[in-house]
Symmetry: C2
Subunit: 138 residues, 2 copies
Amino acid sequence: MDISEVVRQSGVPASTLRYYEEKGLIASVGRSGLKRLFAPRVVDQLALIALGRAAGFSLDEIGEMFDADGEPTIDRQALAAKADELELTIRRLSAMRDGLRHAANCPAPRHLECDRFRRLMTVASAHAKTAKAKRGKP
Amino acid sequence: MDISEVVRQSGVPASTLRYYEEKGLIASVGRSGLKRLFAPRVVDQLALIALGRAAGFSLDEIGEMFDADGEPTIDRQALAAKADELELTIRRLSAMRDGLRHAANCPAPRHLECDRFRRLMTVASAHAKTAKAKRGKP
DNA sequence: CCTTGACCTCAAGCTGACTTGAAGTTGTAC
DNA sequence: GTACAACTTCAAGTCAGCTTGAGGTCAAGG
């Protein structure tokens, strides 16, 4: 497949594909003249990268989880840890979703003083601190 | 409360507080000399902002949802729409989480060729396209 | 009175994730 | 065989979301 075919199938712009290749997230299988040739599997990898991005992982993190062929490079434990990280994120987002739904229905004049709303938010402030602690470390 | 108290209680750096104020996301209740004074509620608002950020909303979006006092400024419908948006995100993240858990357990040599893994990923590529379409519009 | 330290402003800098633009190369169609 | 569209490289630009730094202000303690 040439690059335009990958663009067509994945919706990812060519510039991004070149960028990802440079970063080692994907690999081209060779060249035809100057032109990159990709294996069809790259489309799946791009979906995987999109998923990781949507999950809040940085390109570097994704690069550490999977090699340029899309296979996991970290051990089961690390993968499970990433899954747990995500689990936490999901719980926070669920809180936010519930908070929004609540705000859309609750007639309280000041939501910040509504107990239910406040309870839904405590989940987040807890996270803010852990995220901060994490950033301070590496 | 002075700014350092807000920092202490929220974990958000002073520079960020000033930045948020400038953006109109929070408001100080006045000054003592040059020094900003904040109402205690700002801590809750910061939690709300953190939650929104974690949910993938930009500061601008959050600013459109809530005023500087933390009260929703958009109508119930719009709030519900944001909640639905989040619901979708949550589903994608759940797919990623399941994908990671699966990869941590599945003994298949090439995960991209594992049907279950691939099925989990299709959710994401669908999103990548909608996100793209959305970005093209506003 | 003078120092100290917590605050202030404003401009500039930084990171991640791309995008854009200029200038060069090439396989294919006519 | 030449024109052309589709690629290529590489450097620079963009945007969000902050952070950093220089230089200034002020209240309190010694």
